[in-house]
Symmetry: C4
Subunit: 255 residues, 4 copies
């Protein structure tokens, strides 16, 4: 057993007919950025913290001299639709820890009224795409078919969904509720607000709410500028290299 401590922050009434939304750190931090935006925009209230004995054995140090504990946090949102959102600065480290944590996350979601689980994440494709696609996977065929109407894609790579985003679907099924994972296409080596925006756009349509994207769009634009710089830099490097083909002399020194 991997021990998980629940630290109640405030008493809250369970919701009715809520959805459980997961946005823990992962590829491109896509899910985390999207879920944090939801909590910020809809003024989610933190009501519970989880401390798992399989989190990294450390605290983080802030610049103001305080420490930040490794934990997962539950936020409650009542409007525009009832949501329980899980954020955090880490996932569990070992396979077994990940199972115990995902089980606990779903159990708490259900305890506070969730009737359906949405996990948000990134799908690493190794390159930058102009308009990131959003992929979906669901715990039932009917659900998958319904999702397709919202313009999401199905993955054909035969791979998996690793960590909480995947295992929370397993524990949703085992606890009698359905689950969906939405994955934004992302390079995988960059924090990616643009992909988070794409995921959030689909997600808000699927579950039925409107959300101000301004702040996310600004972060996405900043990212674009940064990427533009990289692209230019790479072009320049290539320009400088091209006119000068390697001489025999050069080749001699190649190890």
């Amino acid at each position: 057993m991997v021990k998980i401590i629940e630290r109640k922050i405030r008493d809250v009434e369970p919701l009715e007919n809520a959805i459980l939304v997961e946005g823990l750190p992962g590829i491109g931090h896509v899910g985390r950025i999207a879920a944090e935006h939801i909590v910020r925009e809809f003024k989610g209230e933190k009501f519970l913290e989880l401390y798992c004995y399989d989190f990294p054995p450390q605290v983080l140090v802030n610049e103001d001299g305080t420490v930040e504990f490794m934990n997962n946090e539950f936020y409650i949102i009542r409007e525009p639709i009832p949501m329980i959102v899980v954020l955090g600065n880490t996932q569990a480290l070992s396979p077994i820890g990940q199972y115990y944590l995902a089980e606990k996350l779903v159990e708490i979601g259900i305890k506070y009224g969730a009737k359906m689980t949405y996990t948000l994440g990134g799908f690493g494709v190794g390159k930058i795409t102009d308009v990131p696609k959003v992929y979906a996977a669901a715990t039932s065929k009917e659900l998958a078919e319904k999702l397709k109407e919202y313009g999401v894609e199905f993955r054909k790579d035969g791979g998996g969904i690793v960590g909480a985003a995947g295992l929370m679907l397993t524990f949703s099924k085992l606890n009698g509720i359905e689950g969906v994972c939405l994955m934004g296409e992302t390079p995988g080596y960059l924090v990616d607000p643009k992909s988070a925006r794409a995921v959030l756009e689909k997600f808000s349509k699927i579950v039925g709410f409107e959300i101000d994207m301004k702040e996310l769009e600004e972060r996405a634009k900043e990212m674009e500028k940064f990427l533009e710089k990289i692209r230019k830099f790479e072009e320049e490097v290539m320009m400088q290299q091209q006119p000068k083909p390697p001489s025999d002399e050069d080749l001699r020194y190649i190890g």
Copy 2:
């Protein structure tokens, strides 16, 4: 303790005098292919799923947008002979997880009427053989002697049987029943229906049933064609290389 969740799919009456058959993923997927063929041909009914907290912490994604959970599945077969068959898409990851899982697999087998365990697997030999041998190992000397009459071989390599195929023999013994592992010779780096066919042939004779091998033979033939292509390709490569022995010049550049 490594937690294992049992998810009942349907109620079934325990069998009388059944055998427990294991075909989880392993070397060349020999055991898995053989056991899946048995379940398909004899129309085994799935009645139980196991979710072990030491399975890979993920779900797999299907092309139709659904997810596939990591689990082990129990099938019941009444005819031609009573069998409890374990299939699945994974084994446990850690040594401890493998012990807990093998213990559970045997306990469930016995609960549903198994009086003897057969684990099916591959024995990796690193090369392709025309007629794959079938090796056997048993939990008692008498059993081993009896098996020899069916033309199986005994391994002389002093090695082990790793994973569920080995540990289910340990837990069979600890629970008072005997066990046998049948291992088909296989290269180890290829999914090997031919070896699975060889194992199934011996197995069906030993436990006494007849089974249609057509589908397995077709898969074996496809594999043969594929191997033939590889062989030809390798020959061609060797032909092209042979006439040109390495010159001093070449040797100079070898790092």
Copy 3:
């Protein structure tokens, strides 16, 4: 669960309004040296030993033919101020073990009267500094502000505090008491009494006691001499190398 055995060495009355001080092995052994000095100078009495099943699976061998067990030890100090000090020759090995151990260390501290936790450690900076700075991190903003008055610094590296020194802050907070980590700047690749002295100086001012530093100063001086030797040696090596710039001939042989 990771089992931890408590071995009582003597019965002691719990203290009132004590502080819990941790000095387990870590970077530069800064915390360990500082805490050991406190126990020695104030004649701390050992009253409890902990044996954690996630300590290194071994005993150490002393030159007199006795063995030294891997454990953590609790010392009680009544004067000049009430303190519970944790020393030891190891920390737990795995993340999970570190959580269970830190939890136990804090629980015992509280049981014996601790109302506040101080963990002492090193902050590895990769180079030798003449006057090592002391960094602090605290479980609350107010505490951090108060610490600043004592001339400690706040880290700006965005990193963490790993092991007992970090996790004991987590479990202090979870058990309703505050905690502070003091970290002495240290190269990271040397046992560092000088940094321990710097930490102890700040610590004694913060919690309000005076302590004789003579022995620690001597160890620091010995370290200085050793470092001086290294510096001279490096200078000589550089002097010998400088007058001889690499020739083309030399370059040819560089791999």
Copy 4:
């Protein structure tokens, strides 16, 4: 918790004033060879098997088609002196597993009458010695002093005793009995009956029994012959190489 199954082989009366002797696999298999010799010569009766869930997840395959389970075995010896001997084909894999196993081994020893623990092992020195020394380490100063009278040495390397041979001393102490580890000097890369013989010689004198060493001496002689061959081979290789110092030409091809 790491589960350990006890499988009783026969009922035995607990001994009075017995010693617990450990000879599990380790460096040079010194302890195992020595303890197996004791069991063989004194016709020890196996009465208990342990199956630990942290043993290698496998069974071994014998040439007669039977499997050998991974386990630890307890033997009881009444004459010449009462002994409980632990043999086996493996130790636990993980640190935590090693703690749980060592705890169980000592508890069973005490349950069957042990008042003192002797663990037998090798001390790897990286080279072959003509007369292997025997090192000792004990759980008390008095014990160590007494051992010295038997001509054992104390290690000065500041290292540890890893695994059951070390941890069984820890759990002996925690359970109120004393313990000694005897370590035979051994190269570390060879199974070493000669070192086992040296350990057994000291051990038999210390605890007070006489034992026929013939079989062990024969194995040691065979080992000597084997080593002699290696020495000759190495000499020949060196002879052939010596007259031919590397030429500039040779040096050019060294990568």
